[in-house]
Amino acid sequence: MDLVQMQKSLQDYTKSLFLEGILDSQFLQLQQLQDESNPDFVSQVVTLFFQDSDRILNDLSLSLDQQVVDFKKVDPHVHQLKGSSSSIGAQRVKNACVVFRSFCEQQNVEACHRCLQQVKQEYYLVKNRLETLFKLEQQIVASGGMIPAVELGF
């Protein structure tokens, strides 16, 4: 594949993530913060997000598996995950967290278990997509090309 084709693939791929609602405009904000002085800003922040989220999801699984669920422990974790997913533009993860929090408020253990599964699903999805996106970017850079700016016509 030549460089132009790779760049087109990347643009199409990125657009699809927005169209599917996996990413929202906040991700574009992150990209705007990347420049020659900080060429890896997006991947750095996203990597932090993955590390932080892996930890939170693990803690949430443990907390919800207790005989007596302590919602005072569960809710802050979900709040944290909601915040960080929102900050990087992981829209579906954020939305799943919003639903999760409402069930935490109701102290509905069963619903919270379902919510956790939903959050995990959305998280693994965005993680997978972003990892693919970064790989596409790396291929372009390795071929001596520039990452094209995302142009969203919609």
Binding site: L33, V45, L48, F49, D52, H79, Q80, S84, S86, S87
Partner: protein, 163 residues
């Protein structure tokens, strides 16, 4: 604690707010407080790209210590102090332990820091919360997640206040 440009010997740093400070290149030194690591990275980058010097704190207690309002600062050795001039505090509202609102009140209660502008950020758009912060002396309330345009607005607002 993390500070850009210049060393930070953490608890021994003393901050004074100087309303007549013109700074090198009018550069704003912002203390950003947020318990969320990703949000700290984001706000730090947003501020740096807007030509601010940034120090981050992961909670309100650390922020107060940096500002010289912590308990430990009773025994400061003046010769080893690093005098830092913070021009603005930007803090998350929801933080474990001391909230951003409580931090705001502590700053406004302090005789030497009360003029320091404090901006509160929150992911939740709750009018009573916003009004409470503004009524307690917050300069501005900003909705998270922060965007570049928010920081630009903030700088304009602050520059207008200073001149």
């Amino acid at each position: 604690m993390n500070s850009s440009g210049g060393s930070c010997s953490s608890l021994m740093d003393v901050v004074t707010y100087d309303p007549h400070h013109h700074g090198h290149d009018e550069e704003l030194h912002v203390l950003a407080v947020d318990d969320n690591l990703i949000d700290r990275k984001l706000v730090e980058r947003l501020l740096k790209i807007s030509s601010c010097k940034v120090t981050t704190a992961e909670n309100a207690i650390r922020a107060l210590e940096y500002l010289g309002l912590g308990d430990q600062n009773q025994h400061i050795d003046a010769l080893t102090c690093n005098v830092m001039k913070v021009n603005l505090i930007i803090t998350d509202y929801c933080m474990p332990g001391m909230t951003g609102f409580e931090l705001l009140k502590k700053v406004k209660e302090s005789s030497n820091l009360r003029e320091l502008p404090v901006v509160i950020m929150s992911s939740e758009n709750i009018p009573t919360r916003i009004n409470k912060c503004l009524a307690s002396g917050a300069q501005m309330f900003m909705q998270k997640p922060l965007k570049l345009s928010d920081v630009e607005k903030l700088k304009c607002h602050l520059m207008n206040c200073r001149s």
